[in-house]
């Protein structure tokens, strides 16, 4: 062979190999594994409903973690219908936002003159389509103990909390989209409908449940105020609307809900409860932080009404900032009100009750062979910082990137992180391979 021919041959051979070189990965075969996602429902509270920034509003709701999970599930199940949520429009109930005023970032609450106030449609939200079968059954503020009625007093209190009594007592506005049946307080009315009844009639083939947070959280964020209300007029005695729930009652009621799902043949996943005492709402204004700004001591009122000097083991709730600016807590004669502080004894109560509840959740999941997303461990890991795809997260208020402005609920990027955690555990338990969502596509805090 002549030299030129050799060279030509080499060049042609090289180019033809280059021309057909393959680098792309094949499309992954997707499977549901042992699960069936055809009808996925989400049980839960505000976190599930898509509540954020102190309100339920359209943009936040449209990025709820169950809606993210459902979208990802549709990659492994093409028969999934639309994931229906009871959508608000625009500002919904109104929500908090940030503004940049005098070179400072200000948190604008819903009562501020510059607030993002409730939309004109909020007053009627959820009242028209009560027979619709929504997939997202999240209700802001609901406790697990509100979901099942064990006796007639229970029935009345839960109905009162969820539906209210017209003209007398406002029910939970975030539960308006469901039909709660007749009022058990009124004789001869239709029987009430329990939360668990909505679960039973859902036709679910798969569920996620992140119920139980409010059984601790409402106590914690009210500084240990149990919300004691005298309802003797209604024959219900004294009711503690924000007390810590009873562990035995919690266990029995969660068992009722999971058994109902098990009996329906549904598969699913339950999530444990994070340690509420580590959320930014309770860790942004701190005793040592106030001391750094020149306070000699921070005076608090503990759960027994005693006034004492606070330490970093006493957690000040975020909404105390106005009181603090007015000097509350700066002296023994002007201490922080006990509702503004979760003192160290209350912190211990919250933590031990959370452990009790989580033990129930894990053992009940094992009983019915449901998957578990251990959000308690996950959020504990977050304390030392977590990263996803190059975004760093910490539990800090605003700059931590995960929580919304209320310091309790997550922002859309945070909900996307939660959705991926659920997806991992579903895949691990059921042998499915639902793709994860791209966290970077979701917004974090909206900075001014």
């Amino acid at each position: 062979m002549k030299k030129k021919q050799i060279i030509l041959f080499t060049i042609v051979a090289s180019l033809s190999i280059i021309g057909c070189r393959k680098v792309d990965f094949d499309v992954v075969d997707r499977t549901e594994g042992e699960a069936d996602f055809t009808k996925y429902i989400a049980l839960g509270n505000s976190l599930t409903q898509g509540y954020a920034d102190g309100g339920l509003y359209e943009e936040g709701q449209s990025q709820s973690y169950p809606s993210i999970i459902a979208k990802q599930m549709s990659f492994v199940n093409s028969n999934m219908g639309e994931f229906a949520q009871p959508m608000t429009s625009g500002n919904g109930s109104g929500y908090m936002h940030l503004e940049f005023i005098n070179n400072e970032i200000d948190v604008i609450s819903t009562t501020d003159p510059n607030a993002y106030t409730e939309s004109s449609t909020w007053a009627d939200w959820g009242t028209n389509e009560k027979n619709f079968k929504y997939n997202n059954l999240g209700i802001s503020g609901i406790k697990l103990v509100n979901c099942v009625d064990l006796n007639s007093t229970d029935e009345k209190i839960n109905h009162l909390f969820l539906a209210g009594v017209q003209g007398l007592f406002n029910g939970n506005p975030y539960s308006r989209y469901l039909d709660w049946g007749g009022n058990p307080i009124i004789p001869f009315s239709e029987p009430p409908i329990q939360y668990v009844d909505h679960v039973k009639s859902s036709g679910a083939t798969f569920f996620s449940s992140w119920l139980g947070n409010n059984d601790v959280l409402s106590y914690a964020t009210s500084g240990g105020n149990e919300g004691t209300t005298d309802l003797s007029l209604l024959g219900l005695g004294v009711v503690k609307f924000s007390g810590l729930s009873d562990p035995t009652e919690f266990h029995a009621k969660y068992d009722t809900i999971l058994k109902a799902l098990y009996d329906m043949g549904a598969k699913g996943i339950v999530a444990t409860l994070p340690d509420v005492t580590s959320i930014p709402n309770l860790n942004t204004i701190t005793v040592s932080g106030l001391k750094e700004t020149g306070w000699a001591d921070v005076w608090i009122t503990d759960m027994n009404g005693n006034v004492r000097v606070g330490t970093d083991n006493d957690l000040i709730i975020l909404s105390a900032s106005t009181n603090i600016e007015n000097g509350e807590g700066s002296s023994q004669s002007n201490p922080l009100d006990k509702d503004l502080v979760l003192d160290e004894d209350e912190v211990a109560l919250c933590q031990s009750r959370t452990i009790d509840f989580n033990n129930s959740i894990v053992s009940l999941a094992a009983k019915y062979d449901f998957a578990v997303a251990d959000m308690h461990a996950y959020m504990t890991d977050l304390k030392s910082g977590l990263a996803f795809d190059g975004i760093n997260f910490t539990p800090q208020y605003i700059e931590g990137g995960l929580f919304s402005l209320d310091g309790v609920h997550l922002n859309p990027r945070g909900y996307a992180v939660i959705a991926n955690k659920f997806i991992s555990e579903i895949n691990a338990h059921y042998g499915s391979n639902i793709p994860k969502t791209d966290i970077g596509k979701f917004r974090g805090i909206v900075f001014p």
């Binding site: 050799i6 990965f25 970032i105 795809d389 190059g390």
Partner: protein, 422 residues
């Protein structure tokens, strides 16, 4: 609620810095032979591979080579089945001159691109907060002298002046009502100094066969980047004191040293045919690249410190050359290259992996003055690894072809009648 004054400490790690990617394409004849050239004294490229070999190069010789590198890189994550880098092609070149001053003394000058890398992704890709685009280029200028201590032993040494530049872009995970995320762009350039030292020995040199040994040490280089420019765009107004439109930064890039040992054995099969076998062992001290730190001039901008923790690695290189009438040559070779990047530190911009690579090449002389060489490398590697600091894991697949071409011009060889056998 009233004012919350935030002392925002938003860290912005620059994990995806290309610290180095050694471009083993510094001589086309060597490329065809798997890069094994430390024990070979032939042609002006010896100035780079082993300046000790320069004394064997007759007259005045000029070599100019260019490489066309076209990498294809794909990723698979638990979010996306397939992500393609949008990286384009690169054309690193080399130029060498060597000249005999006396029978014992030779001098030379080399210019090449010893380190470089570039990677690009779609701006909105999954790992945009790690890396969007990166490019690192280096130019090395190496004036060199070599001296024949003994018929069988020569030494050479060169001073290496390095000029480097890099730019990188990544998304900043902060948004406003109108902007989804910001962007950071860093650009810097700097210079560094090093040296290249080589020893070459024609241990056995008979009519029938020849055995040569070589040793080379190319020093590491600290590339100081004292006056970089950082540009932040699409940052929310409230955070612009932390990430201003523009600020300076300083950093330092440590390029590794390379220690090579090589041998070549030539056997004349017949009057017309000869065969040569060459072997090199290269040891690259990538551990110099232990961390990458960026100090911003603007006080509010948090500095970035990143552990890279690369490892020193060795590479084995083999080559065979068959030549006919010392005019035409066919070369094949291969090398086994270990990656310096441990699992847990693999960034999407540089998905390096252990690999065995085959090479081939051709050479032809036209008269006594001109020589042409071509070579081809095909790399194909796969790796599944993570970048722990960013919590990003992926399966990587990288296919790259390198086509190289060079011309050598030889002048003033009449001083010595016999050219050394190839």
């Amino acid at each position: 609620m009233k004012k919350i004054v935030l002392s925002i400490l938003l860290s912005l790690p620059f994990l995806g810095q290309a610290g180095g990617f050694q471009l083993n394409v510094q001589g086309v004849r060597a490329i065809g032979m798997g890069g094994a050239f430390t024990g070979i004294a032939y042609g002006p490229a010896s100035l780079f591979f082993n300046p000790g070999g320069m004394t064997s190069i007759m007259g005045h010789q000029f070599n100019f080579g260019v490489n066309y590198i076209s990498p294809l890189v794909a990723l698979q994550t638990d979010v996306n089945d397939n992500i393609r880098q949008t990286t384009g092609y690169a054309t690193p070149f080399h130029f060498y001159y060597t000249g005999q001053i006396t029978n014992k003394l030779s001098v030379g000058l080399g210019i090449n691109n010893q380190f470089g890398s570039s990677s690009s992704f779609d701006d909105d890709w999954q790992g945009k907060f790690i890396i969007q685009n990166i490019s690192l280029r280096t130019f090395m200028f190496q004036p060199t002298a070599a001296y024949k201590l003994h018929e069988k032993l020569s030494v050479g040494a060169g001073f290496v002046y390095t000029s480097g530049s890099f730019s990188t872009e990544k998304a900043v995970p902060l948004g406003s009502a109108t902007i989804d995320y910001g962007k950071a762009r860093l650009e810097g350039k700097g210079v560094g100094y090093g040296f290249n030292l080589g020893i070459h020995s024609n241990t056995i040199d008979t009519d029938k066969m020849k055995l040569s040994l070589g040793f080379d040490y190319r020093s590491g280089t600290k590339l100081n980047l004292p006056e970089g420019t950082a540009t932040f765009t699409d940052i929310p107004i409230s955070l612009q004191s932390t990430f201003p439109a523009t600020t300076g930064f300083s950093s330092q890039l440590k390029l590794p040293s390379v220690i090579s040992f090589g041998l070549s054995y030539t056997y004349n099969l017949t009057e017309d045919f000869s065969a040569m076998f060459a072997y090199d062992y290269n040891y690259t001290t990538w551990s110099s690249y232990d961390s990458l730190n960026i100090d911003f001039v603007n006080e509010n901008t948090p500095d970035s410190k990143n552990e890279k923790n690369w490892q020193n690695v060795g590479a084995h290189r083999f080559g065979l050359e068959f030549s006919y009438q010392q005019k035409y040559a066919l070369r094949v070779g291969g090398y086994y290259d270990s990656t310096p990047i441990l699992d847990g530190y693999v960034s999407p911009e540089l998905p390096d992996a252990d690999q065995f690579v085959l090479t081939m090449g051709l050479g032809a002389k036209i008269g006594n003055i001109l020589e042409f060489d071509v070579a081809w490398i095909h790399q194909d590697a796969e790796r599944e690894a993570s970048l722990d600091a960013a919590n990003f894991s992926a399966k990587y697949r990288r296919v790259a072809d390198i086509i190289s071409f060079s011309t050598t011009i030889k002048l003033g060889q009449e001083k010595k009648a016999k050219e050394p056998s190839i």
